[in-house]
């Protein structure tokens, strides 16, 4: 029920809406719950609404931490 997915914003539309793509499929969603949406942003989409933006630096950092954890370094 709360499963939500990362999608890429392609176009910012009037009235807090945006066009996003997910695996090549285009969809119109509401961005009324978040601020400063730009094309190229990734957002978490849930029941037609963007819940939050994905922070690209933190995503990189998570992958680095996972690599380290796999090698046995304390995270």
């Amino acid at each position: 029920m709360c499963l939500a997915i990362p999608v890429e914003v392609r176009e910012v539309l009037p009235d807090d809406m945006a066009r996003v793509t997910l695996d090549g499929v285009s969809k119109i969603i509401s961005t009324a719950l978040i601020n400063d949406v730009r094309p190229g942003d990734y957002v978490i989409l849930h029941v037609g609404y963007a819940l939050t933006k994905i922070n690209p630096e933190e995503a990189e950092r998570t992958l680095a931490l996972i690599q380290e954890a796999a090698m046995g370094n304390a995270t």
Partner: protein, 385 residues
């Protein structure tokens, strides 16, 4: 796909699992409850339990709103939908949950009720606009992730002056459920079920932040790691929990930093606060009446509140006595412990709610886990004191 595939690397998952085995103290056992149905689903789907050492076990929690909705509320929704003037809109997950008479929204629809499945609250609004002669009711359920979309649709309906739109509100709060589990006699009495820490909700936390869990970590001395919904997220969270236990720490850690902050989505929280207030108490399937655990519309929006507008009554209804959903939701039993599992109860013929939603523990186990059960000891979540 970006932000998905890189968190599904099987080799890395196995490497982390090996680190968990090296880190976990062989002299003790570790039992972690994943609160969220989304995590239950990932754990079953990717067989993560099989990667973990035998002394590190997962306990399924109550984290799916479909699973915890009491059947009395389903009954009330069906009764409402049977009224000729009403169009009931709802998320698809709810359609197959049975009420005490074995009825579901699907069955009611087949019997002629005007029930429409929607993907988004905005679809329900469109129906209300297009069919002004109908009374359109949105059957709202969900944790903190689906509440902001309900708040926003209400805001839009009011702005548009739509007089034929209302909400049957069943939104519930995750911290209240965790609190109840930690205080339940099953957990608090030593020698019964053991929970050493929690994997906290991903997208719920994107909205409410990690802060609401700090209180539990402190008060109940249980570590909480908020984790994303991909397999590497979950397995990394398990390692983080094992480390906290080994170090004797019990704090809230955030594995899902790419989407979750300590304070969460403040804008969404403000929208919710505008339209909703706490109910003194709300019934949860399997957990019973929990104080301050559910939301209702504020009195100033009474005209948009289906419970008020249509004088709805919900009666408390007993579950099928053979269904073990209640104890599964509290982590006391596992799906395979239920006598109905896989016999009369399957995803095509769900007897209880845990079999309805794909994030329910029984459905996840049916789809991905049942062939493995025999191979391992069914000990997780059981007495280990």
């Amino acid at each position: 796909m970006k932000y998905i595939d890189e968190y599904r690397n099987g080799r890395l998952a196995r490497d982390i699992a090996r680190q968990i085995a090296l880190t976990a103290d062989p002299a003790r056992s570790y039992h972690f409850m994943e609160f969220c149905g989304g995590h239950t689903h990932v754990i079953s789907r990717y067989g993560l339990e099989d990667l973990l050492p035998d002394n590190v076990r997962m306990v399924h929690g109550p984290g799916c709103p479909v699973c915890v909705l009491p059947i009395g509320r389903i009954g009330a929704a069906i009764a409402l939908a049977m009224r000729p003037e009403i169009t009931l809109c709802t998320y698809g997950d709810l359609m197959r949950v049975r009420d005490k008479n074995g009825w579901s929204l699907l069955k009611a629809k087949a019997a002629g009720a005007d029930i429409r499945m929607v993907y988004s609250t905005l679809d329900a609004l469109k129906i209300a606009e297009a069919e002004p002669q109908r009374e359109v009711v949105f059957f709202a359920i969900g944790f903190e992730t689906t509440t902001p979309p309900t708040a926003l649709v209400l805001k839009t309906a009011i702005a548009k002056g739509l007089g034929n739109f209302s909400i049957f509100c069943n939104h519930v709060l995750t911290p209240a459920a965790i609190h109840s589990i930690l205080e339940s006699p099953d957990v608090s009495k030593p020698g019964t079920i053991k929970i050493d820490g929690f994997i906290g909700p991903a997208h719920v936390s994107a909205v409410i932040g990690t802060k609401p869990y700090e209180f539990f970590a402190e008060k109940f001395r249980k570590p909480v790691v908020v984790a994303g919904f991909e397999p590497l997220d979950v397995i990394q969270a398990v390692l983080m929990l094992v480390r906290q236990i080994n170090d004797g720490r019990h704090v809230v850690e955030n594995q899902y930093i790419r989407a979750v902050t300590r304070l969460g989505n403040v804008k969404a929280q403000a929208e919710v606060a505008n339209f909703f207030e706490l109910r003194e108490s709300f019934e949860w399937r399997g957990l019973g009446e929990l104080p301050l655990s559910g939301l209702r519309l504020r009195p100033r929006y009474a005209a948009y509140d289906a419970e008020n507008r249509f004088s709805m009554v919900t009666v408390t209804a007993e579950d099928n006595p053979a269904c073990e959903c209640g104890s599964i939701l509290r982590g006391v039993q596992k799906p395979a412990d239920c006598k109905l599992f896989g016999r009369v109860c399957t995803p095509d013929t769900p007897m209880g709610s845990c079999m309805v939603s794909s994030e329910g523990a029984c459905a996840a186990h049916w789809t991905y886990g049942r062939f493995r059960t025999k191979a391992r000891q069914p000990d997780a979540g059981r007495a280990v004191a």
